[in-house]
Amino acid sequence: MDLQFLEIIPQTGPMLWGALNTIYVGILACGVGLVIGTGLLFLRNSRFRLLRIIVGIYGSFIRGTPALVQILVLYYALAPLIGLNIGPFTAGILAIGFNSGAYVAEILRGGLSRIPPGQWEAARALGLPNYKIWFRIILPQVFYSVIPLLVGEFTMVIKLTPLLSTITLVELTRSSQMLYNETFRPVEVLVLAALIYFIICFSISQYGERLQRRSLKYRL
């Protein structure tokens, strides 16, 4: 079969909209993930055993179930259960955000464990109060040290977005499906979609590597 990319190109408008949706959802979900991940980091060290157990169960659930199932559970089960009427957009951002949050928490925990105890000592020796030590000394260093892992996590979020097509969100994959169902040219459309995903993810990793190199100045 001969490939007719040139024929397809003019019709790829919707696909590009889908790509924008993908990036949009990706960024928002990533934001949710970062907030949840940082929050979990603190909850993990809580004095209350119940909180620590809840955090543990949350992490175990996210890690032990497929993301697709988490999305389906959130949209078709959890939301109706609580009585929340949320659209696929919100559900998607939340589901991926909750998923990412558990992994971000693990990444940050690893980074935290690698902060030399001397940093804590020097900060306490200066008489700095606890919350200042966390926000001005420790957390910045944690984030600088785990940049590549966080970038990898962002890439993962982008790669999770196609799953949202199952809850009717029109992102890149769904719009690709719609296009090749119309044009009967799945090869060209899917190859194009793969290319777009590749460009997005690869660019993110490259940028991440650049950030990582620049961050070396801020680390000992």
């Binding site: 000592e121 020097a122 020796a125 200066l126 008489g127 700095l128 260093q141 801020y218 680390r219 000992l220």
Partner: protein
């Protein structure tokens, strides 16, 4: 040498109240006793050097002074305030005690100047401008004025330790604690740090210094203390300490040090 005697007399005359009072302090790590019945007083203006083999508890002792370590028995009293578990109490005391570490422990994500002004702004509520002024003053004192905007990763070990000293000085503490400040430095950089410490000493800074640098102790200290296995074994002024050690363990230690 007679400078030491002079300042000792001055200290005795002016200030009978000890700045740091350590009474019958005992400390255990689980079952292992790391400090045994320590009694020590440090007066304002005094320079105290503590030496001893590794594991003798000397680092643990000075870290108890600013409560980076907690003692289980006995009292540690700083400027009349007893060291307990009350948080407000601890932060306030720590802002009056400066500490320099063997590993420098500069904050790598902040520039030299930012390292210096962080605590004065956060803890003493100084304005940015005033803090920078003080920072610049102490940077000059430790002779690193032109590195103010560099990051610690861009400095040598000796420079980093001098920044660490300046950082402690910016809080204008009543006493400076040094925990083996030159042990992690390459030999050629030890002198620049010791020079600064000497200068501070001659300006009247109260210091408690754990170190292996005996030349420094001889020159600068008012009192030298030898610790071994968690106890204070011998305490004397430098002349008598080095020339006439009384205790057998002290003699053995000094012999080992000077044989190299």
């Amino acid at each position: 040498m007679h400078k030491n005697e002079e300042s000792k007399v001055v200290a005795c005359e002016l200030n009978r109240e000890a700045l740091i009072e350590i009474r019958n302090v005992n400390k255990w790590y689980n079952d292992f006793q790391v400090l045994k019945d320590i009694n020590l007083s440090v007066y304002t203006g005094e320079r105290v050097v503590i030496c001893g083999p590794s594991g003798s508890g000397k680092s643990t002792l000075i870290r108890c002074i600013n409560r980076l370590e907690k003692h289980q028995q006995g009292d540690i009293i700083f400027d009349g305030i007893e060291l307990t578990d009350e948080v407000k109490n601890i932060d306030k005391i720590r802002s009056e005690i400066g500490m320099c570490f063997q590993q420098f422990n500069l904050f790598p994500h902040l520039t030299v100047m930012e390292n210096l002004i962080l605590a004065p702004i956060s803890v003493r509520d100084l304005s940015n401008a005033k803090a920078r002024e003080i920072g610049a003053h102490y940077l000059e004192k430790v002779k690193i004025q032109d590195q103010a905007d560099k990051y610690p990763s861009e400095l040598s070990g000796g420079q980093q330790q001098r920044v660490a000293i300046a950082r402690a000085l910016c809080m204008q503490p009543r006493v400076l604690l040094f925990d083996e400040p030159t042990s992690a430095l390459d030999p050629e950089m030890i002198a620049e740090v010791l020079d600064i410490m000497e200068k501070l000493a001659t300006e009247g800074m109260t210091m408690v210094c754990v170190t292996h640098e005996m030349g420094f102790a001889r020159k600068v200290a008012d009192r030298v203390i030898f610790m071994d296995a968690g106890q204070i074994v011998e305490e004397n002024d430098p002349i008598n300490f080095f020339d006439n050690p009384k205790n057998k363990r002290t003699q053995k230690f000094l012999k080992q040090i000077f044989e190299h």
